[in-house]
Chain length 221, copies 2
DNA sequence: GCCTAAGTCAATCAACTGATTTAATTCTAG
DNA sequence: CTAGAATTAAATCAGTTGATTGACTTAGGC
């Protein structure tokens, strides 16, 4: 396994093979579903005569999934880091909500069209066997925690359990709304918003409303 | 295939077998993931010596999934129907949001503990191969459309694309928040809300805030 | 310039998959 | 009370899975 991609002709070749596998796997998983795609199909679709190329380079399917996640998350984290420093000191909730949403949408926009990472992520986060991978890799990023801390300051009176509840909601919203938009784009169907940037604005509006909504006592109905 | 369960000893037996398979499949799918469970495993876990019991009674895996959905949705639809008639004429947004949330949470509560349908549903709605099944079976219910029409009246100035966007968000929220709560319950972990009823209240608060949030012009950031 | 190690390829393995077939059992209809 | 259909059981099918194996190719250190 070689990490210094491009340093030598050989390492370049290997790095290209690994990248090709990651790209192909991400696409197949997004299009057909995690359960429907075997390592063999990925190897073949990635142009590897070797039917065990996935196993050789990455190991198990869980290892492959983790590698796909690790390929994407650093870029998202750095985008978020930039936004967090830019938002430092802001007293506008929307600025901090934007720190959650825009790194994701901007990353997807930068990947061109079509993209597959959003649908891939949504599946990973929903599957009982894989959700922990995503949680470990993406949800523990330092800038993410910083955003949440700032967000909490806008709702000092909100009970801790409600905060946790709504934090979960925000996570689900971002992941699945992006996945659904990506799917519509891939199918050539109409999307409510015409660009990733507008989709982000829509999400920020909605999440801001969700976060600042009053919370009822637990008297129920 | 017999439909009149319980009319005769024979039909009762068959109906019990089919129910046992549906229950077992729902549980295994929720716990291990759709892709990780074969029809054989389901047949065996359902106590059927016949390793082809699933195929015999239901056909393909997609047919089985559809049958699981159809087993649950009528009850949810009738709960929603009741709430819609009770809410008729109400000018409180929360009443109509409740018509979306409480039928689902009340149904889950009525299934006892633990439940598996919420996690099962979340997976179905996220999988590219199965999402249409859920859309056909559950999202076309008449009372659902009625709620949406009423909800629209509280946001007469909201552009159609924003309405569509936020409608999608609401759907994702309900499905995945319930699935996550169900998972926490199954793992014995702490949940933000202690009952399904309180979870529903939290969802209604959040969704109401989301729905009534102002929407920004599309100038972006 | 050769030799080691990394990567690629192709064949093979047992295990498992959905599906089909055959046999045994159970119940119903007449 | 029997003829026959429906259900359950069990064996079997070809195809696919992840994993292992050894042969071949090639880059890079000595």
């Amino acid at each position: 396994m070689v990490t210094d991609v491009g340093r030598t002709p050989r390492a370049e070749q290997v790095g290209a093979t690994r990248l090709q596998i990651l790209t192909t796997a991400e696409r197949l998983f997004a299009e057909q579903g995690l359960y429907a795609v075997s390592n063999r199909q990925i190897s073949a679709a990635a142009g590897q005569g070797n039917n065990a190329a996935v196993g050789y380079h990455f190991g198990t399917k869980a290892d492959l999934v983790r590698a796909i996640v690790r390929r994407r998350t650093p870029r998202i984290e750095s985008l978020r880091q930039e936004m967090v420093t830019a938002a430092a000191g802001s007293r506008d909730v929307r600025d901090w909500v934007a720190c959650l949403v825009r790194p994701v949408t901007a990353h997807l926009a930068s990947l061109g069209d079509p993209t597959w990472f959003a649908r891939f992520s949504a599946q990973i986060m929903t599957d009982p066997a894989f959700r922990e991978i995503m949680a470990e890799e993406a949800l523990a990023e330092p800038s993410l925690r910083e955003v949440l801390v700032n967000l909490y300051e806008f709702a000092p009176d909100m009970p801790a359990d409600v905060r946790e509840d709504r934090g979960n909601m925000i996570r689900h919203l971002i992941v699945h709304v992006c996945a659904e938009r990506e799917r519509s784009l891939a199918e050539g169907a109409a999307t409510p918003r015409s660009t990733w940037d507008e989709a982000a604005t829509g999400l920020i509006d909605a999440i801001t409303g969700l976060w600042t909504a009053p919370c009822t006592g637990d008297s129920g109905r």
